[in-house]
């Protein structure tokens, strides 16, 4: 047993002074200007050409994928889509600062991190078409990606649930002595959930090597951030939990890379959590089920289009002579063709066989699930025309 004194770090005052807003000053790290030139006093991260170009190409690919798939949803080819337009730097550049053994936990608007890890166009398509080649066996809505080989935890819809899970996963990594951390992405809306409080407090107290990465994009569906919180964003809360914290320009890929690199170094060396708040803007609609014209102005969107993270990085790469403008245009067209080709191929792949409906509920299906499957198969055999996706493939067992 140890003696403790919870007053040991508390200073004393003799005036009843209420602490007001603005006591903590949390500036935003910015390295590139909107036109892609670096600030004179900016200390740029140690970033080689190959990595910088890979971040850029990943962002470009995600922009192409998002545009194409929003159209595909409007055509009724997939049931749902969720674009990350304007936020590509936040996910791609942060993923670039990680090691392959680090686990990624995503909310749902971080396809850039998954693409950076090497998830292929075909894998994206298989998941969105819920076909039999998809790792989740077609059980979840589009965008709920997951890939064990790439250390990308399967996404789930309930907001914020992955935040305390990230603390637990990171604790497991620490206890196993792994040279690895967990990064956990979430939006500023999700940070209002109780799980945010639970997860950050537990990570701090139990010293979990995790990066909590908040995309503060100004909106949670229609709710603007001034109806989400009254304090100084999300970063100020990290300080309250005793977590090392940084705020960064989320549309500046170099700043995101620099902040995440530093955060990972701290998480590994000091075995503790770090909070990053990336300030950005959700240029996309919340999802294909949402129309933002009902709650924000075109002028506001236009202002943020001028801060596009992709053109900002492109201009910087060109200024470094790291990007050939002609090849850049060619590769954009190649990406569009690749996405279209895979879309056409993957929408033809059938769904999983009906047995998968009861598998993976438990390690093996218990008696009641076997019984329910057997009754379901008999029913489908009786009314095959009502169940075209599975009827033709039922075994006779």
């Amino acid at each position: 047993m140890q003696d403790r004194d919870h007053l040991s770090n508390v200073g004393i005052t003799h005036t009843a002074k209420i602490i007001a807003n603005g006591i903590i000053d949390i500036p935003m790290l910015q390295l590139l200007q909107a036109d892609g030139t670096s600030f004179e006093e900016a200390k740029l991260p140690d970033l080689d050409q190959e990595t910088a170009v890979k971040i850029y190409e990943t962002m470009k690919f995600i922009r192409v994928l998002d545009e194409r798939m929003v159209s595909a949803q409007r055509q009724g080819r997939i049931s749902f889509y969720l674009a990350s337009t304007g936020e590509e730097a936040a996910s791609a550049a942060s993923a670039a600062a990680l090691e392959p053994q680090d686990l990624i936990m995503s909310q749902y608007r971080e396809q850039g991190a998954l693409a950076y890890r090497g998830y292929t166009t075909e894998q994206f398509m298989n998941q969105m078409f819920s076909n039999e080649k998809e790792a989740n066996k077609g059980r979840q809505m589009p965008i709920h990606y997951g890939d064990k080989p790439l250390n990308f935890m399967t996404i789930s819809s309930p907001l914020g649930t992955q935040i305390p899970q990230a603390a637990g996963y990171a604790y497991g990594q620490k206890m196993a002595g792994e040279d690895a951390i967990t990064i956990c992405y979430f939006g500023e809306g999700a940070a209002s959930e109780g799980d945010f409080h639970a997860g950050l407090n537990m990570a701090a107290v139990l010293k979990c090597p995790a990066i909590f990465f908040c995309r503060n994009n100004g909106y949670a569906i229609s709710t603007p951030s001034n109806e989400q919180f009254a304090g100084d964003g999300i970063a100020s809360r990290g300080i309250g939990y005793g977590i090392k914290t940084i705020r960064v320009d989320g549309n500046d890929a170099l700043a995101v890379f620099a902040a995440t690199t530093e955060a990972r170094k701290i998480a590994i060396e000091e075995q503790c959590p770090v909070l990053i708040e990336a300030m950005t803007y959700r240029l996309a609609a919340h999802s294909t089920s949402d129309d933002p014209t009902g709650y924000r102005s075109k002028d506001e969107e236009e202002k943020w289009r001028q801060k596009d993270p992709i053109s900002r990085l492109r201009n910087w790469l060109i200024s470094k002579d790291w990007l050939d403008e002609e090849k850049d245009v060619e590769s954009l067209e190649e990406m569009r063709q690749d996405v279209l080709k895979q879309l056409k191929l993957c929408e033809q792949v059938p769904v999983c066989s009906i047995e998968h409906i009861v598998e993976d509920v438990y390690d093996t299906p218990p008696w009641h699930l076997q019984e329910q499957l057997s009754e379901l198969k008999d029913h489908i055999r009786k009314y095959p025309e009502a169940y075209p996706a599975t009827a033709g493939r039922i075994n006779n067992g």
């Binding site: 047993m1 686990l103 998809e134 790792a135 989740n136 066996k137 059980r139 979840q140 709920h144 997951g146 890939d147 064990k148 935890m153 399967t154 789930s156 309930p158 649930t161 935040i163 305390p164 899970q165 990230a166 603390a167 637990g168 996963y169 990171a170 604790y171 497991g172 990594q173 206890m175 196993a176 967990t182 109780g194 799980d195 409080h197 639970a198 997860g199 407090n201 537990m202 107290v205 139990l206 598998e359 993976d360 509920v361 438990y362 390690d363 218990p366 008696w367 009641h368």
Partner: protein, 325 residues
């Protein structure tokens, strides 16, 4: 063999599990140096260190969220929720996350190594929030297993099976029996199978089905009924999900009558599920309606605890009604 109470049996299971596998970690509110408010985790931190047995901040959703992450990493978390009454803040993490982790990821990730221990049940003057029996809420959740032991021997064997089972298990401990139930328990390692009911006593006139602390109550009622010449078969369900329908149906096919008793409220309680399934499986064998002797459909009261509880007199009366139907 050694004489142990239910808490000592649980502590013994935790010791064995932590000794055999360094990935086993025990955590929750006050479980660390102090050893838990009921002392189930006594000496674990002393023996295995603060890294493997530790206090968490006071947040049930955090405890289970953290446990889900730890389990998906491949560690073996044993999370404690101080009272079953306080598991509800973690309902979202259990229902939407723990239980669906494997299914939604196509088997890529799972929380199969997780065990959640929680004391449950009344009879200790615990009022509304230290008496509840929440098993039926979780019986509606595909992906979970739910286990309830009735004495120290069952507790140790079922807990070791739960920890080693590759599915998330909610392990509910009858706190009224923590110190009251004492029995012979092997000091060594042993397991009792999950998903299996246990026939406590054979009989021919009526099947009495219960679990946890309620088994003792139906045993007392059976003794009273036997004095009247009614032969009772007593079955301890042991696992609520998945439950052992075959053993129950076999017993009811023999006796022709079934009485189910639990402390939790009647409406939506697990007895309803059993009654529906057994009338379907044993329709031609039943000689009387299936009887349910449960808690009232009220919050769990303090001053009227004795009146609220499905005690042996209420069970005895229902046995007599059933046999005379």
């Amino acid at each position: 063999m050694a004489r142990m109470n239910l808490l000592q049996a649980i502590n013994s299971a935790l010791m064995i599990a932590m000794e055999e596998n360094e990935k086993v970690m025990v955590f929750g509110e006050d479980v660390g140096y102090f050893g838990g408010v009921f002392r189930a985790t006594s000496n674990l931190q002393e023996k295995f260190g603060r890294g493997r047995c530790f206090n968490t901040p006071l947040t049930e959703q955090g405890i289970i969220g953290f446990a889900n992450g730890l389990a998906s990493h491949g560690s073996v978390p044993i999370a404690e929720i101080q009272f079953g009454d306080y598991i509800f803040p973690a309902f979202d993490q259990i229902v939407n996350e723990t239980a669906k982790f494997r299914y939604r990821s196509g088997g890529q990730f799972s929380c199969g190594t997780l065990t959640i221990r929680t004391p449950y049940g009344g009879g200790i003057a615990g009022g509304l929030y230290h008496s509840q029996s929440p098993e039926a809420f979780f019986a509606h959740v595909p992906g979970m297993k739910i286990v309830v032991p009735r004495n120290p021997y069952q507790a140790k064997g079922l807990l070791l099976s739960s920890i080693r089972d590759d599915n998330p298990v909610l392990f509910m401990e009858p706190k009224r029996l923590y110190r009251a139930a004492v029995g012979e328990v092997p000091e060594d390692d042993y397991e009792l199978p999950l998903g299996k009911a246990d026939i406590v006593k054979e009989g021919s006139d009526i099947t009495l089905l219960a679990w946890g602390a309620q088994v003792e109550v139906v045993e007392k009622a059976a003794q009273k009924a036997e004095a009247d010449g009614i032969s009772c078969e007593i079955v301890d369900l042991q696992s609520i999900l998945p439950w052992d329908r075959d053993t129950v149906a076999e017993s009811v096919a023999k006796t022709g009558r079934l009485l189910i008793s639990h402390e939790a409220p009647m409406t939506g309680g697990f007895a309803g599920e059993i009654a529906a399934a057994i009338q379907e499986a044993c329709f031609l064998n039943l000689e009387s309606p299936i009887a349910r002797v449960c808690g009232l459909d009220t919050p769990y009261p303090l001053a009227h605890e004795k009146e609220y509880m499905p005690d042996e007199l209420k069970v005895y009366e229902a046995i007599v009604r059933s046999v005379n139907f």
